[in-house]
């Protein structure tokens, strides 16, 4: 336990120190990947622990990002109408854009709107006992609805182009390395907080209820728990993580478009978690970083055929590492444990040990 704890701290320390050993470009990539890691933690919570596979987290990520981007767009328009509205024949700032002039409103709605949407959708869906692949595909339908709407309502959202070309945030120039490093550190801190919070959730009794729901939702009912409440809660929580990731993403990448909230990115989010190991929080984080690094690496070095490598990576992980990268570590540990632990009887100690991390 303590050894594992050390590894965690070392890992986050390495992330913290990244600005000192990475170039600006690599740092900006890592910053982006850490945003993805936040989403991955949320997905690990709902998928790995609770058994809900959402193929629609792009929407929550996107909504969070759009809310933040609306603020940035207004800030960089200096009181004028955002450029894309001008081309689209809008003459006045739409009413729902107005509140986003205030950064606090923008940031809080960047979290609240996705969470409300997630809570609303999941409440009905889970109450009506839609689950398994039905839920997964339904969440995909939600993606289609939002992406099509965001593309179609060009005059309000910037259409396919999305929102881009921001200059400053709270007066600091977004392009300056200093701002970028600060934003990076904020991202690392948020990731750490999300990680610690999720870990606390999963090792508590709450975490065991989640696993029980994954194992057999109906049985949980007959123990007196209402699975709907639990599922809505974790689902909304994971939406909040995705939204937070969206905020940090926009700040660091300077762009959000419907393509980022579409079906493919939503599926990719799940893939990160699968690669890392779905029922392991740190696995999810590592999965997000590794998968995206691999994607960058392959596409930079083999721009023509990198899809073959990426596809191969996914297949390879599924075939040979059923529990993802975290599974490798665990089975290694287990094998070691088996060698050492043969001596004392199983079950002789009732001390609580919690599976996975």
């Amino acid at each position: 336990m303590t050894k594992k704890g050390w590894l965690y701290w070392l890992f986050f320390l390495a992330l913290f120190a990244a600005p000192f050993y990475l170039t600006e470009f690599r740092l900006s990539l890592l910053g982006k990947f850490l945003c993805f890691a936040m989403i991955a933690i949320g997905i690990s919570l709902i998928w790995g622990y609770t058994g809900i596979l959402s193929l629609g987290h792009g929407v929550y990520f996107g909504l969070g990002a759009y809310c933040m981007a609306m603020y940035l767009k207004l800030e960089s328009s200096h009181g004028r109408l955002p450029d894309f509205m001008e081309w689209s024949g809008v003459h006045q700032l739409p009413w729902f854009w107005k509140p986003f002039e205030h950064p606090l409103v923008a940031i809080s709605s960047a979290i609240i709107i996705p969470v409300l949407l997630a809570a609303f959708l999941s409440y009905f869906t889970f109450k009506n006992r839609i689950k398994g692949v039905y839920f997964s595909l339904l969440s995909q339908a939600v993606v289609v609805v939002f992406v099509t709407l965001f593309i179609g309502k060009q005059e309000w959202t910037g259409g396919t182009n999305g929102l881009t070309n921001f200059s400053t945030v709270f007066g600091f120039p977004l392009s300056s390395p200093f701002t970028q490093i600060i934003l990076y550190w904020i991202t690392v801190c948020l990731l750490l907080l999300i990680f610690l919070f999720s870990r606390w959730l999963t090792v508590s009794r709450f975490g065991r209820v989640l696993v029980a729901i994954r194992d057999g939702e109906n049985r949980v009912r007959f123990l007196g728990f209402n699975p709907t409440t639990y599922k809505v809660f974790v689902y909304s929580l994971s939406a909040a993580f995705a939204a937070l990731a969206g905020i940090m993403f926009v700040l660091q990448v300077g762009l959000i478009s419907p393509a980022m909230m579409g079906i493919i990115p939503s599926i990719e989010m799940v893939l990160w978690v699968a690669v890392g190991g779905r029922s392991s929080l740190i696995g999810a984080v590592i999965g997000a970083i590794v998968t995206n690094s691999a994607k960058s690496f392959f596409s930079e070095n083999y721009p023509d055929i990198w899809l073959l490598f990426l596809g191969g990576l996914f297949i390879g992980v599924v075939m040979f590492l059923p529990n993802g990268l975290a599974g490798v570590y665990q089975s290694f540990k287990q094998r070691k444990g088996q060698r050492e632990g043969k001596t004392h009887e199983a079950g002789s100690h009732v001390s609580r040990s919690v599976g996975g991390f």
Binding site: S204, F206, V211, A212, F222, L223, T229, V350
Partner: protein, 249 residues
Amino acid sequence: MKPVLMCREVSVDFDGFHALQGVNLEVYPHEVRFLIGPNGAGKTTLLDVICGKTRACRGKVLFYSHDITKMPEHKIVRLGVARKFQSPSIFHQLTVWENMELALKQDRGLFAVLRAKLSREDRDTIIAVLQRIQLFDYAEQKAGSLSHGQKQWLEIGMQLIQFPQLLLLDEPIAGMSEAERERTGELIHEIARNCAVVIVEHDMDFVRRFSKQVTVMHEGKVLCEGTMEDIQKNEKVVEVYLGREEKAC
């Protein structure tokens, strides 16, 4: 005395098949009520209706003074109705200990569970129950790797630890050896000191040994009620259920 459970004219239809047709049943505190009857008589369905898994199309189910006919399952459980299913239904991915921990009588609200800590008493209770169901040595094992009979025991344990007021057991001793049946029977009577128990069972030796009041169901209706002796004399019961040999015993 007020009955714990009162079923009034409960009927259930499955696409035109009448699985239950106006069943009346009253169970009193501390009673161990056996429910027997031919395969397909509707025993499991009746238990399903009581615990909210299946909805009655007619009739009423009262638990003390609560009308639970249309209540969601988890609320019925929180009132104090526990159910053991015919085939073991435990959480395979959790350890035996964790299964027990979830079943503990507790506030099952989201925020309560978030804050929940395992208290000393809870731990002692779990250990006591585990020892009683002989799974203490398996506490750290994943429940999925237990044998059939052990799973049955675990599920019984999970019901015990809820300290319910009404316990519904669907063939609890299926797959248990004689000695274990004996122990289960004793256990059930012990439990009955604090709650009412409804048991569905096909093992007549067991029923004979541990029953006072028996209800026989047939084709979705209650055929007769009484002690095992009374029932063995009932020609109809012999014909549809017991068979000649059993009667002879």
